[in-house]
């Protein structure tokens, strides 16, 4: 079974939703990200796993075009300027933010409009999504009148209202209770079942193991080590298949395969930061 998958992957490689090579980002002389490589196949659930401060958010921001890298190359859904494909991307940042005076359904419509969805259609979908998720009663309430959890759900619905092909979640589980974490996991699986590529960052291994087809691990135990080694050997991420000892394996979803043969550090269970 494993071999078949590998062969299939080599003979008919799936196109990449995200491809990044050697991304570098410095802030005021401090190198936050140094030489990140990433290949995310279309339709995959892809986890970016690493400790706090490892540069996960900065890397995702570069991939989305929120900030430009100081060096390196990125291609998102075939576009070298991510904003060109913004209409096909959804993004839920770690620090959630909505306009406090906006009504819930308007907030969803606005997030859709930012991604090119006509406002009237966004409003219609906003109301429907809120109804479907048990929040219909709050559609006309202002964001500031909602609880934190409800506001987070509204922002999640706004992230998905335009039916993106690629969804990026930055630490999506932080601040959620167990019930809502489970709900979000179901949302992510549902997206993937429809062929949407999902990439999310997390520092919780369990989430990555439960959900991901592939996990990019960033092993930077302490930032000083990262910085100290940066000049000698550029730290990077490589996709590592979910075959770490002790990891629970679930059968791959139909139509998704682990990308093979792309990384020199594809040692199963490798816990090193790959060096060039």
């Amino acid at each position: 079974m494993k071999m078949d998958l590998g062969k299939a992957a080599m003979t008919t490689p799936r196109p990449l939703a995200i491809e990044a090579r050697g991304l570098v980002k410095r802030f005021d002389g401090f190198t936050a990200v140094d030489g990140v490589d990433l290949s995310v196949p279309e339709g995959a659930i892809y986890g970016v796993l690493g400790p706090n401060g490892a540069g996960k958010t900065t890397s995702l921001r570069m991939l989305l075009g929120i900030i430009d890298p100081d060096a390196g190359f990125r291609r998102v859904l075939g576009a070298e300027r991510p904003h060109d494909m913004a209409h096909a991307i959804g993004y839920l940042p770690e620090e959630r933010g909505l306009y406090p005076t906006m009504k819930a359904f308007e907030a969803i419509a606005f997030l859709g409009a930012l991604r090119g969805l006509p406002l009237a259609e966004g409003r219609r979908r906003g109301r429907r999504l809120l109804e479907d998720n048990g929040l219909g009663y709050a559609a006309d309430r202002q964001i500031r009148q909602l609880s934190k959890g409800m506001a987070q759900q509204v922002q999640l619905l706004g992230t998905l209202v335009h039916e993106p092909r690629l969804v990026v979640f930055d630490e999506p589980f932080s601040g959620l209770d167990a019930l809502n974490q489970g709900r979000l996991e179901r949302v992510i699986r549902g997206l993937a079942a429809k062929g949407t590529t999902v990439i999310f960052s997390t520092h919780v291994i369990a989430h990555a193991e439960r959900l991901c087809d592939e996990v990019a691990r960033c092993h930077s135990p302490v930032r000083s080590t990262w910085r100290a080694t940066a000049s000698r050997r550029r730290s990077g991420w490589r996709p590592a298949p979910r075959t770490a000892p002790g990891a629970r394996r679930s059968p791959p979803r139909p139509g998704t395969r682990a990308r093979s043969g792309t990384s020199p550090c594809r040692t199963a269970g490798s816990s090193r930061c790959c060096a060039r």
């Binding site: 100081d70 190359f73 060109d84 913004a86 209409h87 933010g97 006509p118």
Partner: protein, 408 residues
């Protein structure tokens, strides 16, 4: 329904629509609309108080310590002169009637009475006792009144038949200068208030963490443009409301002020005023937004925007001074310098009827608005999210794209 890629302009419109409606339907906008009425009320109250103070000053009396006959003659002469020549002549009050041969200490009488000064002696040799300022102010009037009382000036004044005209060239020039200065001041106040609003709006957005959601979806240039144009739209609504209320108040009171028609005529003047306001606002707004991108807190905003506000005040004073020197090199300089140009040209529209300089000035200002917005947007982009410079191919500039299309 499929979504499509938004152009920068379309994305800016999404942003502008959000900001426009959010501001328009907020409580702070109501206070913003009411804001100009507070200074008007304060000015009216202050004006009333000032008038009362002036009236009390005008009521300062000239005490007379003379013989009864001289006193009566002096009082009659004063009333006649006040009627025919100068209503502002000091009121006269007989403080003490002197008996023939009696003398009086005028300084002592001044201390005892409430008069501002004392005139004593005789009509031929009046003595004015009072403070130096009061003597300087009243010396001439006292001589005139005493002379009239002695009948050394004509007592029968020829009748002058009035033949009033609406205005004269001298009056028009003076009045237009007033119109120019008023328009400049209004433009300056509006620009400062609205540029300040766009700044606080941005800081609030950064505080709400929304900026990252925006930056992920649309280019920061679009966010910048959207905010700028939303506030321009809001300001146009505010101006329309203020103009309407002022018009109603004036029409209702049946008291239209005697404001001279500007050189280019009222319709063109109003149109030019709107255009120059837009230019001044866009120039200053882009500077303020760039400042906002560097500020994290309201305190940062205050400390960063203070020098710019002071600089803008200097620019305004420069434009006001230049407007008073029509045709001089300084007026040309003020019209050329981008930040003072809208103010100077609006004053010119009030003073002069030629229209072509305005077309040239608007083209020149539009060029600088484009440059300013461009630089502001770039600063905004690099400062708000601390973006880098590499990593992605840049979209060619508009000029390069035009050349390429022409060649292709």
């Amino acid at each position: 329904m499929k979504t499509g890629r938004l152009s920068t302009i379309a994305a800016a419109l999404v942003m502008a629509r959000r900001d426009f409606t959010a501001i328009l339907f907020s409580r702070s906008f109501v206070f913003f609309l009411l804001a100009p009425f507070f200074p008007v009320v304060v000015a009216m109250v202050a004006g009333g108080i000032g008038q009362k103070v002036q009236q009390s000053t005008a009521r300062a009396e000239l005490g007379v310590v003379m013989s009864a006959a001289d006193g009566a003659a002096l009082s009659a002469a004063r009333d006649q002169l006040a009627r025919e020549v100068d209503p502002g002549l000091p009121e006269i009050r007989l403080v003490r009637r002197l008996a023939p041969g009696e003398t009086a200490d005028a300084a002592a009488e001044l201390r005892r009475s409430s008069a501002a000064a004392i005139v004593s002696g005789s009509l031929a040799h009046p003595v004015l006792t009072g403070t130096e300022d009061r003597i300087a102010a009243w010396q001439g009037p006292v001589a005139l009144i005493a002379g009239t009382a002695l009948q050394k000036v004509p007592t029968a004044w020829p009748e002058v038949t009035p033949s009033p005209t609406v205005t004269s060239n001298a009056d028009r020039r003076e009045s237009r200068a007033g119109t120019a200065q008023g328009a400049q001041t209004l433009l300056f106040l509006l620009t400062m208030v609205l540029a300040g609003m766009v700044l606080s709006n941005l800081v609030e957005e950064k505080g709400n963490k929304i900026i990252e959601v925006l930056a992920a979806a649309i280019p920061m240039d679009a966010v910048f443009l959207g905010k700028l144009f939303a506030m321009l739209g809001v300001s146009m609504v505010a101006i329309a409301v203020w103009t309407g209320v002022a018009g109603l108040a004036l029409a209702g009171g049946q008291h239209l002020p005697d404001v001279a028609a500007p050189g280019v005529g009222w319709p063109a003047f109003v149109a030019l005023g709107v255009v120059y306001f837009a230019m001044a606002y866009l120039l200053l707004g882009s500077v303020f937004l760039a400042i906002g991108s560097m500020a994290a807190t309201v305190r940062d905003v205050q400390s960063l925007s203070f020098p710019v506000t002071m600089l803008q005040l200097v620019v305004f004073l420069f434009a006001t001074y230049a407007a008073a020197q029509p045709g001089q090199p300084i007026e040309l300089a003020a019209a050329v310098i981008p930040f003072s140009s809208p103010f100077t040209m609006l004053a010119r529209a009030a003073n002069d009827g030629a229209l072509w300089p305005h077309f040239a000035a608007i083209a020149w200002q539009a060029l600088w608005v484009a440059v300013s917005v461009r630089i502001g947007a770039r600063l905004f982009r690099t400062r708000v999210m601390k973006s880098g410079t590499g990593g992605a191919p840049r979209r060619p500039g508009l000029l390069r794209r035009l050349v390429r299309n022409t060649q292709g």
